[in-house]
């Protein structure tokens, strides 16, 4: 952005004109000790829990422990210049971050400051990072889908708008890949995305940003970064910052999708802050309120009804519901889902997508374990066609899992068992999908239809994906209208079924793959 000199002086002039010389009344305290970003302050008897405190040189902190004679606070950012005896002021405000449309397409830190070098962000509104989730009256049940664009997830573990669906798995199992695909697939759907990177390497964040840019998906996305090099306090508040930015869209009657990548690292950061504040440690040295840390965050992801949207926008938006869908990510250690934080988050969310490293290593990507993954509310939100056709897939895979151990004795098995095993192998193969290539509802519908109706049974297992690709490109060129109508409505009827069937039959007769 270019600023010419007159603009700057005009701005300054305006600011001087509007400057009111009021006497400032504030509360002051003195820094007693500084240790690893934790400050103890004497005085400040008026400070609120979570209040922003002003330190010298425009540094801000957050009051976390209000004790009888002192206040314990964390410094947000660098704390090297703060020393014993410095004065600290109350600001009278709970920590706030900028919100609004202007943040879309930008990369910001945990306090909402731009870090992508694209100039200042023009946000008029700010909003506190800690808010109470919408009440029971304000909510509406989840009945619209969020298409993640992945066959295996959309067919078996559907996610609805306003749902919280956990993505859980060991390191290197493709958790972030699912999240990035989900963001890419929201292009053109009107769903705004927020990607919160907590405690990650800057290089991996830069990678995600570049990939989103390449796929033209950055324009509808806000990226909030508290990287591994930033203070634990910033890593701890980053998810709340992202959530507040997402809530803005929800409260405007729009739909938003937020990804917390990942909450394990946030819990670590919070553990560090808590231990330095000398709060008593509990299981795995986490403080007593680590459950509340995540529950209050995820509870804010919700779908609110039109009445509430009307109330929140003061009547400007009517007849629209708003939603914030959350995809928290948890990294397990050695597949241990019974550790403290994973069990907590599993119990908070409305289901989980369970990724396994042995599946990943055997080439099944996304490495979704269909047996352990569930979606508790998404079924109500699935499009008709996927719901109708996806049910068979789940069943096929479940039966296959039971029989898979016998697969090597195939010649000794009876006809029906062998058929089930073969069907299972083909469906498993079909569920593989390349990264950055999300599929539309119609494409998924046709693939699933082919699997359900046995069109894959005569195809060699390693040819299944080639068959699918050829089939889909055939439908794209020959039956574009059918695809468009399925994508538009998501409906499934006998007529649609019949036309898909005839399409596949002609394809099988006339094409090779």
């Amino acid at each position: 952005m270019q600023l010419n000199p007159s603009e700057i002086s005009d701005l300054i002039k305006k600011k001087i004109e509007n400057f009111d010389l009021s006497t400032q009344v504030h509360t002051e305290g003195t820094v007693v000790s500084v240790t690893d970003g934790i400050v103890r302050i004497h005085g400040l008897s008026q400070a609120m829990q979570g209040e922003m405190l002003e330190f010298p040189d425009h540094t801000f902190g957050m009051a976390l422990n209000l004790e009888r004679d002192s206040v314990g606070a964390v410094i947000l950012g660098s704390y090297q210049h703060i020393s014993e005896g410095d004065t600290v002021r109350c600001t009278g405000k709970i920590l706030e971050v900028p919100v609004g449309e202007a943040l879309l397409g930008r990369v910001v830190d945990a306090l909402g400051n731009p870090i992508d070098g694209k100039g200042p962000i023009d946000c008029i509104e700010t909003s506190p990072i800690e808010k109470i989730a919408p009440g029971v009256i304000a909510r509406q049940s989840v009945d619209q889908p969020v298409q993640l664009g992945l066959k295996s997830i959309d067919s078996m573990i559907p996610v609805g708008r306003g749902q919280r669906e956990l993505i859980i798995g060991d390191r290197q199992t493709g958790k972030t890949a699912i999240a990035v695909d989900a963001i890419i697939n929201q292009k053109g759907t009107g769903i705004k995305c927020i990607y919160v990177a907590i405690g990650q390497k800057r290089s991996s964040v830069a990678n995600v940003v570049r990939k989103l840019e390449e796929h033209d998906a950055l324009a509808h996305t806000i990226i909030v970064v508290a990287s591994a090099s930033e203070s634990a306090a910033l890593q701890f508040i980053a998810p709340y910052t992202g959530c507040t930015m997402g809530e803005y869209f929800r409260d405007q009657g729009e739909d938003a999708l937020i990804i917390y990548d990942d909450l394990t690292k946030q819990a670590w950061a919070y553990r560090q802050v808590s231990l330095l504040l000398r709060r008593p440690p509990g299981r795995e040295a986490y403080p007593g309120d680590v459950f509340y840390l995540h529950s209050r965050l995820l509870e804010r992801a919700s779908r609110i009804n039109a009445k509430e949207v009307e109330k929140l926008t003061a009547g400007k938006v009517t007849g629209k519901t708003g939603s914030l869908t959350a995809l928290p990510i948890i990294e397990t250690q050695g597949g241990d889902v019974s550790a403290f934080v994973p069990t907590n988050v599993i119990s908070i969310t409305d289901g989980q997508i369970f990724l396994e490293s042995n599946l990943f290593n055997s080439g099944i990507r996304p490495a979704v374990n269909a047996g352990l993954s569930v979606s508790r509310v998404g079924g109500a939100a699935q499009t008709k066609i996927i719901k109708k056709l996806g049910g068979g897939t789940r069943l096929d895979l479940a039966q296959y899992r039971e029989l898979a151990a016998f697969a090597q004795f195939a010649s000794d098995l009876d006809e029906s068992t062998r058929k089930q095993i073969e069907r299972g192998q083909r469906v498993t193969e079909l569920m593989k999908q390349k990264q950055y290539s999300p599929m539309s509802v119609a494409q998924m519908g046709i693939s699933l239809f082919a699997a359900n109706e046995g069109f894959l049974d005569n195809i060699e297992v390693n040819k299944v994906l080639d068959f699918e690709a050829a089939l889909l490109s055939y439908f794209k060129s020959e039956h574009a209208e059918l695809m468009d109508s399925i994508n538009a409505t998501g409906d499934f009827s006998n007529d649609i079924g019949a036309s898909i069937r005839s399409g596949i039959e002609t394809f099988v007769k006339t094409h090779s793959w």
Binding site: K15, V25, G43, R68, S70
Partner: protein, 176 residues
């Protein structure tokens, strides 16, 4: 620092209650400030943690020093503190005691920093204004500091009322 205040609080509360019962807060103020003064002496302070100096010896020593300054209750309090190894809390106890006393008597300590020295009338006027503002009698301590450039800075405990030109300039700088 906060730990010291926590330890000193029960003693200060007890002393304050006793002083109120017997109507002797002036005497107690004197007791405490004298003890604090004695302890501020380095030789005495060094003896507190000295293993070679036993409790009885410390007690006789301090009683000798304070003989005509402490009343009976004051010397009992001294015994108690020595018994509990809490002599080092005396300054904190005194500070807390004075706060309780001021609160009880409806006084408030206010530090006023001003750019130019007050005249007698303006000081009187300012005092009345502060009393009206805080709803309490005011113990005003005035300091002249020309770095304020103009105006006054009032400090009552945690609360700061900044009406100085320096503060306003800082405000302007921040806005720009």
């Amino acid at each position: 620092m906060n730990e010291i205040a926590t330890l000193a609080r029960p003693y200060a509360v007890a002393v304050f209650k006793r002083a109120k019962e017997t109507n002797s807060s002036k005497q107690w103020s004197k007791n405490l400030s004298f003890l604090a003064a004695v302890l501020s002496d380095n030789t005495i302070f060094g003896m507190l943690d000295d293993p070679k100096v036993g409790k009885t010896r410390l007690l006789t020593l301090l009683q000798d020093i304070c003989a005509d300054q402490l009343d009976q209750e004051g010397s009992n309090f001294l015994k108690l503190l020595i018994e509990n190894n809490r002599l080092n809390l005396i300054p904190a106890i005194m500070e807390l005691f004075e706060t309780y006393k001021a609160e009880d008597e409806g006084f408030i300590d206010i530090d006023v920093t001003t750019a130019y020295a007050f005249t007698k009338e303006s000081k009187q006027h300012f005092n009345e204004m502060l009393e009206r503002n805080f709803g309490k009698k005011v113990n005003m301590k005035v300091v002249v500091d020309s770095s304020l450039i103009g105006g006054v800075l009032v400090r009552a405990g945690d609360q700061v009322i900044d009406g100085s030109v320096r503060g306003q300039l800082q405000q302007l700088a921040q806005r720009l």
